[in-house]
Symmetry: C2
Subunit: 182 residues, 2 copies
């Protein structure tokens, strides 16, 4: 059984600043047709930035879609012709002021493959040097540093509720546990 869904028709609905929307008519394996609503996104990076004392660096900002201020790992959209690595260094410095020459790629994941192609590339940043944050002009960002233990508790309590941030904190914790056991 082939699992693929062949595109029979594409309707472009919206072209925006961060996202586009299209609706594909697809042919299913049983030859029936169905519609797929697809939000196009150019991809993003997220950074697990750990200070020398082992704290994780988060940013708090208002998110209009959920009408709430959320604690998140530093993150941002990859710009046109930008490499993901360069984007991660740029976003970390813009949002938190931290610079580093010790940044490594961990994993990439899809945030919502049911309706979007957005991929987030997750980086680990160590050996941080404090500089000055320079967020975009429509970004109002507060930097918050937490111990991994506190961050884990805030996930359990529902006080940290952004998916990429939960992945970042659980990954940082797992890394520590591995180190501790090795």
């Amino acid at each position: 059984m082939t699992m693929e869904e062949k595109t029979m028709k594409t309707e472009r609905v919206y072209e925006g600043k961060i996202i586009n929307l299209r609706v594909d008519t697809v042919e299913l394996p049983d030859k029936k047709y169905s519609k797929r609503e697809i939000v196009e996104h150019s991809g993003a990076v997220g950074i697990i930035a750990l200070t020398d004392s082992g704290n994780i660096v988060l940013v708090k900002q208002f998110r209009k879609p959920v009408e709430d201020s959320l604690l998140e790992i530093p993150a941002g959209k990859i710009e046109k012709d930008e490499e993901a690595d360069a984007c991660a260094l740029r976003e970390l410095e813009e949002e938190t002021g931290y610079r580093t020459s010790n940044m490594q790629k961990l994993i990439s994941f899809y945030t919502t493959p049911g309706f979007s192609n957005e991929v987030i590339h997750l980086y680990l940043a160590l050996d941080l040097d404090k500089g000055i944050a320079t967020p975009d002009e429509d970004e109002y960002i507060e930097v918050v540093e937490l111990s991994i233990q506190d961050a884990l508790e805030m996930i359990e309590l529902g006080e940290i509720k952004d998916a990429k941030t939960i992945i970042g904190i659980l990954t940082a914790n797992q890394r520590f546990l591995k180190k501790a056991n090795s």
Copy 2:
């Protein structure tokens, strides 16, 4: 400094089956205006289903937005007037055939708060009874059971790349580590 963004205008772009799209014009704290593209979603559930032998139950299905077949935890959209708990039981049985009376809510998280209000409620299902899977007619689903250790390796290797699934596997692992240490 208030972090809120006041809605000055809302333009409804698209009303669909799974998502809607609107564009809000907002007033920032410095009184300047900006646009926010917002994908509306009614919310979903995801289920960490663990067999008596400690394996995690995943489903593999083709995801048109990323043109790939992904391994994911069982999950699905909350239907109109449906409770999240009931949705979790329904989706688990439809997608995997497993039934249980031992399901507990863990956490809720936003998948992409930068451009969508989608929330996923994450459940833990234990004491599974095998029945018969009955997926929706446009779903082609294969059930895959993995040890947590194998699942963790597949995350590191980039073979499991769905955000909610990564959260589910890391959470299941953390739960085991906690138990092992207590």
